[in-house]
Amino acid sequence: MNKPNLSIKIGSMEMKNPVTVASGTFGYGPEYADLVDLNRLGAITVKGICPDEHIGNQTPRTFETRGGMLNAIGLPGPGAKGFIKKYVPFLKQFDTPVIVNIWGKGMDDYGKVVELLDAEDTVTAYEINLSCPNVKEGGSAFGTETDSFSRVIELVRKKTQKPIIPKLAPNVPNIGRFAKAAEDCGADAISIMNSFPAMAINIETLQPELANRTGGLSGPAIKPIAIKLVWDAAKATKLPIIGMGGIYEPEDAIEFMIAGATAVAVGTANFTDPSTAYRVIDGIEAYARRKGYGSVSEIVGTVKA
């Protein structure tokens, strides 16, 4: 049978396959390059960048839980200029779009970071982090109230022609409202979901297991939550969705696509098995072929529900 067409589009961004990596789980590109050929990925999504250098949280920053992990890295990073200097030359080498995950300590930062990055051709699209559970300012606060959520997106929209992809917070009763708001504010796609606000306490020391006290839960544990959020959002918006949350096997990615995701991101699974993205790409292709689809995009939204 013919090879199904693997490519998809997110706004003007063309991905050779629907699989990217989740921000924060793949560094800035070079870290996994010995193990993963970046040319095989649909897109590379880098760790969150704000205008200036940022130190992040104290350690411990991660903690393993049943079927998942907590993280409270706190978005340390080199800032926009540092990113351009340190990582853009490396990322340029590949024939793969780069999605830069951006965040801000205040509303203005979201505009600033785009201004600093937008001239770089290597930066293909922006994922707007409105849902980081691990920073005091910004992040999650913007993602759980539609007003500030909309304002950030509008602001970023004004600063760039490149695709913008708000990343939604999972801890809301009605994600459809946010999906719709993103659409109304001119976003090109949405990402679902960020890690879920959570906590673990050491019963001997009585101290939280993370220096930041709370963190974000990711991994297979949260997949059923993410699938529901994607399904809910897909009913509320026509925007393409990048689905993520506990993707470990091709079947998981396919489940996201059936629920309504146009693309998927492999996150925590990179830590467990860096070959996950390969397996997922191959598995999606095999599934599309077996189902007789001409294109993997035929998988999207096929859920009978």
């Binding site: 924060g24 789980t25 793949f26 560094g27 870290e31 996994y32 010995d34 193990l35 760790k47 130190i55 992040g56 350690t59 411990p60 920053r61 991660t62 393993e64 839980t65 079927g67 998942g68 992990m69 993280n71 890295i73 340390p76 991994g219 297979p220 925590t268 990179n270 830590f271 467990t272 098995d273 860096p274 070959s275």
Partner: protein, 259 residues
């Protein structure tokens, strides 16, 4: 750095609570430098999300060995691994110990699995000096005969006095140090944090070199997640350094110890 989906070749008790696990690793084995580590996942029995880091005790063209002690969920699950069982490893990881500087006298200081972590370095070093090994009891001091065979002057200390000097490693090291040409010493250290700090403090105070292998919990193991960071001194203050990628070995002066 390679990922190998491989199998268990050997697995049995080694000494005390430590067990030895040998894995087939035709790709990783030949690449190993002393002081590097493996990031290990048990795909079969255990359903852990995170790999676990282990220093490479031995390595050759066919495979690698680690010495480990069951202390928690992951290492307990490793206990039931049998010959032929699947194992997934990434390695060799980290920088490892540097080449010995010209004219220096090497000194090994280790505790717990640190003895295993230093073994390849002990073998590689052209000059064999003194090795200070500390542990709670004689049972906790690994590989003494092996180090002796390589030509090292092994000086054990145990908390209970069941082997060598009674007390901490420093109780054997400090008197010995006084008799040395201090600046010529180059320490290779791997052990629990207090041991690392004690040796680091002496190195700074007395002006010798000490390479410390830091033990920090890890997630990715390859430098991507920023879990395993420690504070590294810079001219302006400090920056984060990743134990997995920029370390695990740091010179004592690089490290800014948290209170």
């Amino acid at each position: 750095m390679k990922q190998e989906k491989t199998t268990v070749v050997e697995h049995h008790n080694f000494q005390g609570e430590y067990r030895i696990l040998r894995l087939s690793a035709p790709q990783i084995g030949p690449m190993v430098k002393p002081g590097q580590f493996l990031h290990l996942l048990i795909p079969h029995y255990d359903r852990s999300i995170l790999r676990r880091p282990f220093s490479i005790y031995k390595a050759d063209a066919d495979g690698v060995s680690i010495l480990y002690k069951p202390v928690g969920r992951g290492t307990e699950a490793m206990r039931i691994l049998r010959v032929g069982d699947p194992v997934d490893i990434i390695g060799p990881l980290g920088n490892g110990y540097p080449q010995q500087a010209e004219g220096k006298i090497p000194v090994l200081v280790a505790g717990g699995y640190g003895n295993a972590a230093l073994f390849l370095k002990a073998k590689e070093l052209p000059v064999k000096g003194v090795a200070f090994f500390g542990g709670r009891t004689a049972q906790d001091i690994l590989c003494v005969d092996e180090f002796k065979e390589l030509g090292w002057d092994v000086r054990p200390t145990t908390n209970d006095g069941s082997l060598g000097t009674a007390g901490l490693v420093t109780d054997a090291f400090d008197p010995w140090m006084k008799e040395q040409n201090i600046e010529s010493l180059e320490l290779f250290v791997c052990g629990p944090n207090p041991m690392l700090k004690a040796m680091g403090d002496r190195a700074i105070e007395r002006g010798f070199t000490a390479w410390l292998s830091m033990d920090k919990n890890m997630a990715c193991g390859v430098g991507a997640c920023l879990t395993c960071v420690i504070k590294r001194q810079t001219e302006q203050g400090w920056e984060w350094a990743r134990c997995c990628k920029d370390g695990p070995v740091f010179e004592s002066r690089e490290i800014l110890w948290d209170e």
